[in-house]
């Protein structure tokens, strides 16, 4: 119980800091087109980010996308605004002994030049503690943190599939 709470508050703190961080960065470097925090050439292309519409009463959601890194990189974190959900975690669903088992993996390795799918039944960003249902037509701002490419903010379109 304590562990969960601590981890949750830590994550919430990180998410909050992330939001602050983005805000700060936006003030400082007008000329920079949001590129790598490290100043290197590492770039991650994010294709078709989307979030599934959530059924009424549902407290959880999932965000999917395809990631392709120009050089080997790692997705180390994801966050959404606290007005959307309490917490975002990087998860993977895997078939373990005939049961589909979901677990928090914390990071996703991105080999250079290889598209990695976050898709139903595989990697996904799990939203916990949704504040309100995700409805078709909305977008959810997701801040992705990469080891080398730094932070990237994408708009995930909400749709049913």
């Amino acid at each position: 119980m304590t562990t969960t709470l601590t981890r949750r508050s830590l994550l919430a703190a990180v998410a909050f800091t992330t939001v602050l961080g983005v805000g700060l960065a936006a003030c400082g470097d007008d000329d920079d087109d949001g590129g790598a925090a490290s100043g290197g050439t590492a770039e991650v292309t994010v294709t078709d980010p989307w979030a599934r519409t959530s059924p009424m009463d549902a407290k959880t959601g999932a965000i999917y996308m395809t990631l392709e890194a120009s050089e080997a990189d790692t997705l180390t974190g994801a966050s959404v605004d606290m007005s959307v959900a309490m917490e975002a975690q990087i998860h993977e669903t895997k078939d373990v002994d005939g049961e589909m088992k979901m677990s928090e993996v914390g990071k996703i390795e991105l080999p250079a030049g290889e598209a990695v799918d976050l898709k139903p039944g595989g990697y996904h960003i799990m939203l916990m503690g949704l504040k309100s249902p995700l409805e078709e037509g909305q977008t959810v701002k997701v801040t992705l943190t990469f080891d080398k490419a730094g932070e990237k903010v994408v708009d995930a379109a909400v749709r049913s599939s």
Binding site: M1, T4, R8, R52, S54, P55, M56, D57, A58, K59, T60, G61, A62, H91, T93, D95, V96, D97, G98, E99, M100, K101, M102, S103, P120, G121, H124, M126, L127, M128, S160, S161
Partner: protein, 210 residues
């Protein structure tokens, strides 16, 4: 006990793979699995809580003139369950007027968090009234017995009492049942809506009189 179940699952998977190869002969190539010896689940039932009540026993067989798709899931499941429910919803819509011949039953593998009304509301956000069945029991043994009959299983992540943030591993299969309670087709997780609709059309032709 668990190892035995795993072994049975593996054995049946091997069997069903050969069944899959065999089903090319009769015209339709099913996207799901048809076992040589289909599972028979007519003798099993779970309490129906559609609408939030504590209804009577719901036997695992389709109403006359319909097919029943059965899924074991839970409402706080972020990935698999809504994916499958969305595919089933889309498949029903793809079938047009015949879509109402497909009924969906979801049995909760997480009754602690899935109160009757929660489960029923969840299904109502995917399917029209009268076309879904919310199934739920507090009796672990009753649920396990039913899941065994489907060769399905679920494991709730260990958590402290009162902690509501936990995950549940579960079989991702959707089972299609006819009015005799025979499992005529099994879709592993990942079969898309179009493929489901395609298989439903073939099953209508095979099993339901026009």
């Amino acid at each position: 006990m668990r190892r035995t179940r795993l072994f049975v699952a593996l054995a049946t998977l091997l069997l069903s793979t050969s069944a899959l190869t065999a089903c090319g002969d009769d015209g339709h190539d099913y996207h799901g699995i048809q076992r040589d010896s289909p599972l028979e689940v007519v003798d099993y039932s779970l309490p129906e809580v559609t609408g939030g009540g504590t209804g009577g026993a719901f036997p695992f067989k389709a109403a006359p003139g319909t097919l029943l798709a059965v899924y074991f899931g839970y409402t706080t499941c972020p990935d698999l369950c809504p994916t499958t429910m969305t595919d089933l919803k889309q498949a029903k819509e793809d079938l047009g007027a015949d879509g109402s011949k497909v009924r969906v039953a979801m049995a909760s593998v997480d009754p602690d968090r899935d109160a009757p009304a929660v489960l029923s509301n969840y299904l109502s956000s995917f399917f029209p009234a009268g076309e879904y069945h919310a199934l739920r029991t507090d009796d672990e043994t009753e649920l396990a017995t039913v899941m065994d009959a489907f060769l399905a299983s679920a494991t709730i992540e260990p958590h402290e009492p009162g902690d509501t943030d936990y995950l549940v591993s579960h079989t991702g299969t959707t089972y299609v049942i006819d009015e005799n309670g025979t499992v005529v087709l099994e879709w592993p997780f990942g079969v898309k809506a179009e493929a489901m609709a395609d298989d439903f059309r073939a099953l209508f032709g095979e099993l339901l009189s026009p």
